[in-house]
Structures are given as structure tokens and as C-alpha cells.
């Protein structure tokens, strides 16, 4: 495997340059203790990274250790409240309610976090629910971010608010993960796909489903794409070839509906969790988008980014070859 930031390159005693901290923020009048990890120079361009529904910041661990990106960018990845190491608020009887995410709560959290960390002109990047929220951010807070990257983003993503994902007669630990198995491309390395499933298995009861309320119910921009102010805050919609929830074509249609300032890019041979299902390929792809944002890229971004375009050769183990090569 190429690249210096991939797990196979570590030796005993190596310590990764990721720092973890807790910051206290207010969301809709409630105080939350929010965990975040970061790497990169203090004066680097802040790149705030949002995990997917029911997951946590570990999805970004290979971006956080990408030496080239963290040379110029201060990469920050947080756990939303109730996710990962961000415990539920200590002032609330949260156990008497079903956890439910909404567009308003989600945007309040992200803007409160950016404010609390005093991020100047940050770039926001998120996947899935974190991708969809770029539309609300550009609608409601176009001045707060330098640019928005919506990975696996669409105007509408119905059909995944499923009761079985929080049901006492279902093994939701495993089901919440493997309901997402096919969201990843079969070309992605099996180790990375399995780790993505492992991260899903860490979610608390009902949190994945509660996030999907926002994702599949509350978020619906089909009739209001004209409200998305991409002309004030550039918006990149980058959807993976194997993302069956928000397809590359959905991304193109969404960008077209938004108009000026919105750019759609298809990411070939990758799926809905690009940063964790195939970190090497994703990091190479995202360098192209970041270069476009910072003005370091001369040519316009192509309609489709392929592995060949970014110098990545896909690894031989295909989906049918899941046995160890012994």
C-alpha cells in the first residue's frame, strides 16, 4: 500500500500526531461537552469534518494523519453530542426521550462548535447526513464558512428512517452497521470496510435511527434549492459511484438546481463512506477539491474523478476474494 499515513506503515512506538480535546458548547440553550480531534498548524486553514449518522470522528483518522493535507490545513473532526466520546448533556433527562436529530439542531451544533473553537473562515466537510447539511448551512449560515464540501449529498434522501434500526428484537449493534455494508464500494479494501462497520457498531441505542430522522425525513430541499446561497459560499457536492442513497446523478441534479457556486463531482469506484472505506483514494480525491478551494488548481474540476486521475492503483483483492491470502 502506498502513502505514509496508512496503518501498515506504523512501527511499534510510533505516536500519531492527533490531539484530542473537549470543548463545551451551547446547542439550543443546552450545554454539551463535545470531543474533537485535530492535527495541523494552528494557523492552518481550519477544515471541520463531520462524521456520518450514528458514527464518530474516528471515520476521519486517516485524513487527520495525512501529512500533505495537515501541512496546510488544521483538520478538526468532532463527535456530535450522543456520539463517540461526546456524552449526553448532564442537565437533561435525555433517557426519557428518543434521540432525534433535526436540521436546526444540527446546524446550531456546527456553528456553535465553529464559534467556540474561534475558527476563522473554516471549510466545512461532511458525509451523508454531514453532506446533506451543507444545503442548510449554505441556506442559513453562508457567511460562517469559506466553503462547504458535501460528500454523499442530495436534496432529498428518503427511505432510511427504518424502525428496525431501533427495535428490541433486533441485534441493532450489528444491523445498524451492516444495513450500511452495501453503501461502500466493493473495490474498497476489506480491512477499511470492516473498520467502518466496527465504528458503526459503537453507536448508542437509537442514535443512528435518530440521526436518520434528519437524513430521510427533516431534510428535503427538492422545492427550495434556490434558497441555497452557494453564490456566497462555494458548495462542492461529491458523491461516490456506489452511493445508492444519494447517487452521483442526484449530486449533479442538486448542484444544477442550486446554480451559481455549486459544483458536482462524481468520485469513481468509491461509496458513501469515502474517508473511512478507502482512505488512500479519498485523501487523493479530496486534495483536488481542496486545491480548487484554495485557488491552487488551474483547471476546472472534472465531472468525474477516477483513481487514475489521482495516481491511485486499486488493490487486487476484489469482493469475491475475501479470504486471507495465505
Amino acid at each position: 500500500m502506498e502513502g505514509t499515513d496508512m496503518p501498515t506503515s506504523y512501527q511499534p512506538g510510533d505516536v500519531e500526531p492527533i490531539d484530542g480535546s473537549y470543548v463545551h458548547i451551547d446547542v439550543e440553550g443546552v450545554s454539551h461537552r463535545v470531543y474533537y480531534e485535530e492535527n495541523g498548524p494552528d494557523d492552518g486553514i481550519p477544515l471541520l469534518c463531520q462524521h456520518t449518522a450514528g458514527n464518530n470522528c474516528q471515520q476521519w483518522r486517516h485524513l487527520l494523519t495525512d501529512e500533505e493535507i495537515t501541512e496546510n490545513f488544521r483538520v478538526i473532526a468532532h463527535d456530535l453530542p450522543y456520539h463517540g466520546k461526546s456524552v449526553p448533556p448532564t442537565t437533561q433527562e435525555w433517557w426519557t426521550d428518543d434521540y432525534t436529530m433535526t436540521a436546526k439542531k444540527f446546524t446550531d451544533t456546527l456553528v456553535s462548535l465553529a464559534d467556540a473553537l474561534e475558527l476563522e473562515d473554516p471549510i466545512y466537510m461532511g458525509s451523508s447526513m454531514g453532506g446533506n447539511i451543507t444545503l442548510e448551512l449554505a441556506d442559513w449560515y453562508p457567511d460562517r464558512f469559506q466553503a462547504l464540501i458535501g460528500l454523499e449529498c442530495g436534496a432529498h434522501s428518503p427511505g432510511f428512517y427504518i424502525d428496525w434500526l431501533d427495535h428490541p428484537e433486533v441485534n441493532t449493534t450489528e444491523v445498524n452497521a451492516y444495513a450500511c455494508w452495501g453503501l461502500m464500494a466493493p473495490q474498497s479494501p476489506e480491512q477499511s470496510r470492516r473498520e467502518t462497520m466496527y465504528l458503526y457498531e459503537q453507536g448508542a441505542t437509537g442514535v443512528f435511527k435518530g440521526d436518520l430522522y434528519y437524513y430521510s425525513v427533516d431534510h428535503d430541499y427538492r422545492d427550495k434549492l434556490d434558497q441555497v446561497n452557494a453564490d456566497e459560499c462555494p458548495l462542492y457536492i461529491a458523491n461516490g459511484e456506489y452511493d445508492y442513497l444519494t447517487t452521483p446523478e442526484d449530486g449533479r441534479q442538486t448542484a444544477k438546481g442550486i446554480g451559481e457556486g455549486a459544483t458536482a463531482i462524481e468520485l469513481a469506484q468509491i461509496g458513501h463512506f469515502p474517508m473511512s472505506e478507502h482512505p488512500e483514494l479519498f485523501n487523493a480525491y479530496i486534495r483536488e477539491l481542496l486545491a480548487d478551494i484554495t485557488g491552487d488548481r488551474d483547471e476546472a474540476l472534472p465531472d468525474v474523478l477516477e483513481p487514475d486521475d489521482v495516481g491511485i492503483e486499486l488493490h487486487p483483492p476484489g469482493p469475491a476474494r475475501e479470504k486471507p491470502a495465505d
Binding site: 441485534n171 450489528e174 444491523v175 455494508w181 464500494a185 445508492y244 476484489g318 469482493p319 479470504k323
Partner: protein, 142 residues
């Protein structure tokens, strides 16, 4: 690529052996997977009788005398895509394929039928069993 044609007698025998020798079917409770399901390829239906995470019996053209909890239906082209070594987007996994049929109303994908609760109770074991069609079709990954 396996020379054996999808859904031939030899193919099903090879598939049964692949499932019954798969280490993932022995762990995480997958060895409790004892729900029968059918696979319908075009107009050919085969009942897969599961017992303890293994295929006990394959029954072509099951009748009212048989029992099953759920099934998967699709035309032959969709299944041929599904078992490719690197399957094309949206026919690469059962939930993906079903979503494009059931939620997006598209043609040419697979569709789940039957008891949704039992599907979700055994989701990974069932999904793995279907993915092993691809392993069997490509010579067991060897």
C-alpha cells in the same frame, strides 16, 4: 471466472459448499441463522433451507408443502450483475439493490419479499449468505 453457469445444479452444489465452509457464518450469532429463504432468478425459484448457519437443503421449485420466511427476486441479468467479481453499482449488495427497487422505483434490481422483521433479525447472516453467491461464482476467491 467459474465456468459453471449461474443456477446450474453444479453451481448450487458449489454454492452450498461455500456457505457451509464460510468462517463468518460460525461467529457473532450467525450460527443461529435457521430461517429458510428463497432465491428467484428469473422464473427459477430455489428454496434455501438454513439450519444453524448452514445450508441444509436446496429445494428447486418449492411448493405449499415448504416453509420460508423471506426471499429475493430479480431477473437473470440483475443476478448476473450481482455475482460478478466486481459487481456494478446498485446491484452489488442486497440492501442497495432492494433500495433502488423499493424506494426509487427503478427496474433491473433485486427485491426483498416476506417478513421484514426476520430479515432484520438475521440481516448480516442473510446478507453474507447472498454475498457468498459471488464467492462461489468466482471459484471461491481462489
Amino acid at each position: 471466472m467459474n465456468e459453471t453457469e449461474l443456477s446450474s445444479h453444479e453451481w448450487w452444489e458449489s454454492y452450498k459448499e461455500t456457505v457451509n465452509n464460510d468462517p463468518e457464518m460460525d461467529v457473532r450469532g450467525h450460527d443461529k441463522f435457521s430461517e429458510n429463504f428463497y432465491i428467484e432468478i428469473g422464473d427459477e425459484r430455489v428454496l434455501v433451507e438454513m439450519n444453524g448457519g448452514e445450508i441444509a437443503e436446496l429445494v428447486p421449485n418449492p411448493t405449499m408443502n415448504h416453509q420460508w420466511s423471506f426471499g429475493v427476486e430479480g431477473d437473470r441479468e440483475a443476478w448476473e450483475a450481482f455475482v460478478q467479481e466486481t459487481p456494478p453499482a446498485f446491484n452489488h449488495e442486497i440492501i442497495a439493490s432492494h433500495y433502488r427497487t423499493a424506494v426509487r422505483g427503478e427496474e433491473g434490481h433485486l427485491q426483498l419479499t416476506g417478513d421484514n422483521k426476520k430479515i432484520f433479525q438475521h440481516l448480516r447472516a442473510f446478507q453474507r449468505t447472498l454475498d457468498l453467491m459471488r464467492v462461489a461464482h468466482n471459484n471461491g476467491g481462489n
